[in-house]
Amino acid sequence: MSLLKAENLGINFGGLKAVSNFNLEIQSGEIVGLIGPNGAGKTTVFNLITGYFSPSTGTMAFEGHPLNGRKPYQICQLGIGRTFQNIRLFGQNTVLDNVRVAFHPRTRYWIIDAFLRTPRFMAEEARITEQAEELLDTLGLLPRAYDRAASLPYGAQRRLEIARAIACQPKLLLLDEPAAGMNPSEVRDLVQLVKFVKEKFDLTVLLIEHQMGLVMNVCERLVVMDFGVTISEGLPHEVREDPKVLSAYLGKGAVA
């Protein structure tokens, strides 16, 4: 059984077909790239999968559970984590709290435990803090654990967002342009990071990206979208040579 399966997915915004007849199947353990020119509907696909928009047509299923009609937080709890194109951290909260909050849905104490600080509460909090610190350490953010998230430099904010998504303990991680605004050396580090966390946390990754260098390096398979429809699909080198892709996206010979 595939991990994520989207069939015939479509959504309209006031007559505009943002996504139509979109099919996607992801197997466990893959790293899949979703690419395409600006406005092709890639982020809309993410918003459909994570429950921000409900599709006008089609169905989505995650490990056999239908996703249609579920709220974003329920989809997260099923095991899909995501980051955002324009970083969305909890800016005034500490780095540690940004990560700890993602553990909350799996916390095993009641609010009364919190009010009374029962042993169960103390133990759970210690466990969550321990895990969050370990995660931050893995991503090199531990020294800034008690700083406010908004005070981090840009690259570190990107990493924190990935850390927060991993803290949801997802099986599938959706990364929306993780390399946006990064310089080449930062992009190289990011490639390493994505590969590393994928192995360490046993993740399946679907990522949207513009930087072809990163896509070709990281992804095992690519899906190319333009004007809301899939125009090509396959291994990176296949896609790269697909004439439809070349004309739509790489047409100007700007292949990295």
Binding site: T43, N47, Y52, F84
Partner: protein, 294 residues
């Protein structure tokens, strides 16, 4: 039936006064996203100046309205300069607290003995109330005056915002301050102008209110101010037709409740309508919900 029609007209009268206040709220909100709590108190100051104008200073009443509008326009701009401009890029709640502070200041300062004093004053109307009977429905000259003034103001305002250069500047600023500045709009002056216009409208409303309901005191602005703001939200805040529509609904709701149910429940009914409307249309009757971009 005639009684009902008379109540409709009374509701229209109250609604139009609310509309004059609500327009100022909605313009200011549209342009700086601030609930200008002091607006109801500008209304009060307007009522007092108009009252002094035609009773103490012996001005003809149209001139008194004009003087009151001019003074309040200056007051509105002054308030903006002192209390809101320094906070323009602070969080909105901070500016709101500042507005509350200005509101308290106007109320208490005007209550001082050398200002307007803390007591109620009965307004001697500058002209006698005349009633006409049209098809069995009684209409007073005050109602006609309020109706004409409010409609002129609304049409004038709509013209100002939609057809003039200043109006274009206002619309640009309400969209985005920085872009407006890049387009060569003097943002500070536009905002100042908006406050001035809003305050002048409130002053006109204040004088008409004092003529229609001839009893004034320094805390008279709180409830009409709140209701006018509520009306603006009800119609869709930031929209001039919305403010008008909301104000007319509020006016009718209040007068109808007082006439047919219980005058003690008028506020409760008016605000219940607000809450119910917001539950169905979270951004007011004419307001559009914009989905957050993810």
């Amino acid at each position: 039936m005639d009684y009902f029609m008379e109540q409709v007209i009374n509701g229209l009268q109250l609604g139009l006064v609310y509309a004059l206040i609500a327009l100022g709220y909605t313009m200011v909100y549209g342009i700086v996203k601030l609930i200008n709590f002091a607006h109801g108190d500008v209304f009060m100051v307007g009522a007092f100046i108009g009252y002094f104008g035609f009773s103490s200073w012996g001005l003809p009443w149209p001139l008194a309205i004009l003087v009151s509008a001019l003074c309040c326009a200056c007051l509105g701009m002054l308030i903006e300069r002192i209390a809101y401009r320094p906070l323009r890029y602070a969080t909105r709640i901070v500016a709101l607290i500042s507005a509350i502070g200005v509101s308290f200041f106007l109320e208490y300062f005007c209550s001082l003995k050398f200002m307007f004093g803390p007591n109620y004053r009965v307004v001697q109307r500058p002209f006698d109330e005349v009633y006409w009977s049209i098809g069995g429905v009684t209409i007073s000259n005050i109602q006609v005056l309020i109706f004409c003034t409010a409609v002129c103001m609304l049409v004038g305002l709509q013209y100002l915002v939609m057809r003039t250069k200043m109006g274009a500047a206002m619309r640009t600023v309400s969209f985005d301050h920085d872009t407006a500045r890049l387009m060569g709009v003097n943002v500070d002056r536009t905002i100042s102008f908006t406050f001035g216009i809003g305050a002048a409208l409130a002053a006109v409303g204040g004088v008409l209110y004092a003529i229609a309901y001839p009893q004034i005191w320094t805390f008279m602005g709180i409830m009409p101010g709140l209701k006018a703001f509520t009306a603006a939200v009800l119609g869709g805040i930031g929209l001039i037709p919305g403010a008008m529509l909301g104000a007319l609904i509020m006016g009718q709701a209040e007068v109808m409740t007082a006439a047919f149910i219980s005058s003690q429940l008028r506020d409760a009914i008016a605000f219940s309508i607000l809450i119910l409307v917001l539950l169905v249309r979270p951004c007011g009757i004419l307001g559009k919900t914009q989905p957050e971009k993810v």
